[in-house]
C-alpha cells in the first residue's frame, strides 16, 4: 500500500518538478552559450541570467509550496474524502508525502549544482577542474585525516535529518491547525511559531546544561572538529522529528474531522 501511495505521490508532483528541471537546464545551457564573449555583457545575456536565477529560486519556492499543498489539499481538504477512505493507515499517507518531498528537495539541490556546472562549463578546462577538486580534497584530508569520511557522512545524515524535521514541523503545524473549527490557517501558523520557539528553548537548555560555562573549552577538546556536538544536535533534531510525526499521526488517526 505504501508503494502505491508513493507511486501516486510521484505522479502528482512530478508534473510540477520535471518541467521546472527541464526549463532550468535549458536556461543554464542558454546562459552557457551566451557567455562565449566574456568582454561583452549584452542585455540579452542579462535577461537570460535573470530568468535563470528566477527559475532557480522558483524551484525551491515550488518545493515549499508543493510540500504544504500536497499535505493540506490532498489530505485535509475535499481530496481527503478520497485519500482517507482508501484502505491505508494514516501513517502511510504521512510517510509517502514525506519521502517524496525529501526526494524533490534533494533532486532540486542536485539540479542546481548541475545547472551551475553547465553555466560555468564554458570557462572550465576539465583536467584543471579535476585537479582543483583533487586539491580541495587533499587540503581537507590533511586537516581531518581519516575522519574526513566521518565528516562527510555526518554532513549527509545531518542534511537529511534537518530536512525531515523541518517538513514534519510543517505537517504537525497544519495538523494542529486542523483541530480548530473556524481558524485552521491561523492556528497552523501559531502552532508553527510556538513549536519552533519551544524547540529552540529546549535545544539551548539541553546544550548549555550539558556543556555549561566550559562550552568553548569542550568544543576545542573535540579536535579537529566537534563531531560529538554535531551528532548530538542531529540526534536532537531527529528526536523532534519523531515527536512531530507521532503527533501528526495521532491527529490524523483519532481527531480527523473533515469539513
Amino acid at each position: 500500500m505504501l508503494g502505491k501511495l508513493l507511486k501516486y505521490e510521484i505522479k502528482a508532483t512530478s508534473r510540477v518538478f520535471l518541467p521546472l528541471y527541464f526549463v532550468l537546464i535549458v536556461f543554464s545551457a542558454i546562459n552557457c552559450l551566451m557567455s562565449l564573449n566574456p568582454d561583452y555583457f549584452s542585455t540579452a545575456q542579462f535577461i537570460t541570467l535573470t530568468l535563470y536565477i528566477l527559475i532557480l529560486v522558483g524551484m525551491f519556492v515550488a518545493s515549499f509550496i508543493v510540500m504544504i499543498q500536497r499535505f493540506y489539499k490532498n489530505l485535509l481538504s475535499e481530496e481527503g474524502y478520497l485519500m482517507f477512505t482508501l484502505p491505508a493507515e494514516s501513517w502511510k499517507h504521512i510517510v509517502s508525502k514525506l519521502i517524496i518531498t525529501i526526494m524533490w528537495i534533494v533532486l532540486s539541490c542536485i539540479m542546481s549544482l548541475l545547472s551551475i556546472l553547465i553555466i560555468a562549463s564554458q570557462g572550465i578546462d576539465l583536467p584543471e577542474f579535476l585537479a582543483d577538486i583533487r586539491m580541495i580534497w587533499d587540503t581537507a584530508y590533511s586537516y581531518f585525516g581519516t575522519s574526513l569520511y566521518h565528516f562527510i557522512i555526518q554532513m549527509v545524515i545531518g542534511f537529511i535529518v534537518m530536512i525531515t524535521s523541518g517538513i514534519l514541523l510543517i505537517y504537525v503545524s497544519i495538523a494542529i491547525g486542523h483541530l480548530s473549527n473556524n481558524h485552521k490557517k491561523l492556528l497552523s501558523i501559531g502552532a508553527f511559531i510556538g513549536i519552533y520557539i519551544v524547540g529552540q528553548i529546549i535545544a539551548a537548555t539541553l546544550f548549555i546544561g550539558n556543556y555549561g560555562y566550559s562550552f568553548e573549552f569542550k568544543i576545542a577538546q573535540q579536535s579537529p572538529y566537534p563531531f560529538t556536538l554535531v551528532w548530538q544536535a542531529i540526534g536532537m533534531s531527529a528526536a523532534f522529528a519523531v515527536i512531530y510525526f507521532i503527533i501528526t499521526n495521532i491527529i490524523l488517526n483519532r481527531r480527523l474531522n473533515l469539513d
Binding site: K7, R15, Y81, L82, F84, R255, N257
Partner: protein
C-alpha cells in the same frame, strides 16, 4: 446474522450543536435502505462517522462488527456529497487509481458505465461539469463489489435521465451480500427501489420501518409519510 452497520449510542457534537444525538441502529445485510431526513438532520454526519472521516464524540459505530479502519474501508464503497476529484488526472487515470487501491474494483464495469453515460475516459477531471463529476464519482463507487455502499445524496446534481440510469445501476448491483444505504431528501425518485427507511431528525431516529409496512399498514407512500412526519 451480524449487522453490516451498527450504531451504539452514537453521538457527535460540533461545538454546542448535537449533529448526532445518541443513535442506536442496526442495518442488516442485503437491503437497500433510505436514510431520510431534512437538511441538517445528521445524515451526512452518520455516513462520515462510518468512514472515519469524523471521530465520534461518544458511542460507537461498527461496520460488520469492526470499528472504522483499514479493514472496514476495504468493504465500504462511499460516495460523499462533495467532489473529491483532483484537478490533474483524467477519468482513465482515476479508474486506474481505484483498481490499484481496491481489490474489489471492476474496471470493465466502470468503462461500460462511462460509455452508457457518454463520458470520454480521456477527459481531464478538471474539465468536467459538476453533474458529470458526480456521475464519474458514482461510477467509481458502483464499480466496486463492496459489502456496503454508503451513498450520500447520489442523485442530487444529475439530470433525470441519468438519475434513472443510476438507480437502475444501484438495483442491478444489489445482491444478498451487499447493502446499500442511500441518504437523500429526494424521496419520490428513489422510493421505488428502497426496502427499508430510516427517518432522522435533529440527530435522532424518529422512525425505522420497511417500505412494505408503510404502504400496507399506513396506506401511504414513503414520500407522503415523510411530508407528514417532517411537516414544518
Amino acid at each position: 446474522m451480524r449487522p453490516i452497520l451498527e450504531c451504539i449510542n452514537l453521538k457527535k457534537n460540533f461545538g454546542s450543536n448535537h449533529a448526532v444525538a445518541g443513535i442506536n441502529l442496526k442495518v442488516e445485510s442485503g437491503r437497500i435502505v433510505g436514510l431520510l431526513g431534512p437538511n441538517g438532520s445528521g445524515k451526512t454526519t452518520i455516513i462520515k462517522l462510518a468512514n472515519s472521516l469524523l471521530t465520534p464524540t461518544s458511542g460507537e459505530i461498527l461496520i460488520d462488527g469492526k470499528k472504522p479502519g483499514v479493514e472496514t474501508k476495504k468493504i465500504v464503497s462511499y460516495l460523499p456529497e462533495k467532489t473529491y476529484l483532483n484537478n490533474w488526472m483524467s477519468i482513465q487515470q482515476i479508474i486506474e487509481f481505484f483498481s490499484d487501491f481496491y481489490s474489489d474494483f471492476n474496471s470493465e464495469k466502470a468503462y461500460d458505465m462511462l460509455k452508457r453515460l457518454n463520458l470520454d475516459p480521456k477527459e481531464k477531471l478538471k474539465n468536467l461539469s459538476k453533474g458529470n463529476k458526480e456521475k464519474v464519482q458514482l461510477i467509481l463507487v458502483m464499480s466496486r463489489e463492496a459489502k456496503l455502499y454508503l451513498l450520500d445524496e447520489p442523485i442530487g446534481g444529475v439530470d433525470p435521465a441519468a438519475r434513472d440510469y443510476i438507480l437502475e445501476t444501484i438495483i442491478s448491483n444489489y445482491n444478498e451480500n451487499s447493502t446499500v444505504i442511500i441518504s437523500t431528501h429526494l424521496i419520490s425518485d428513489i422510493e421505488k427501489i428502497l426496502d427499508d427507511v430510516i427517518f432522522i431528525k435533529d440527530g435522532q431516529i424518529v422512525l425505522t420501518s420497511t417500505v412494505d409496512n408503510i404502504r400496507d399498514e399506513k396506506g401511504k407512500s414513503v414520500d407522503a409519510l415523510f411530508r407528514e412526519v417532517f411537516k414544518c
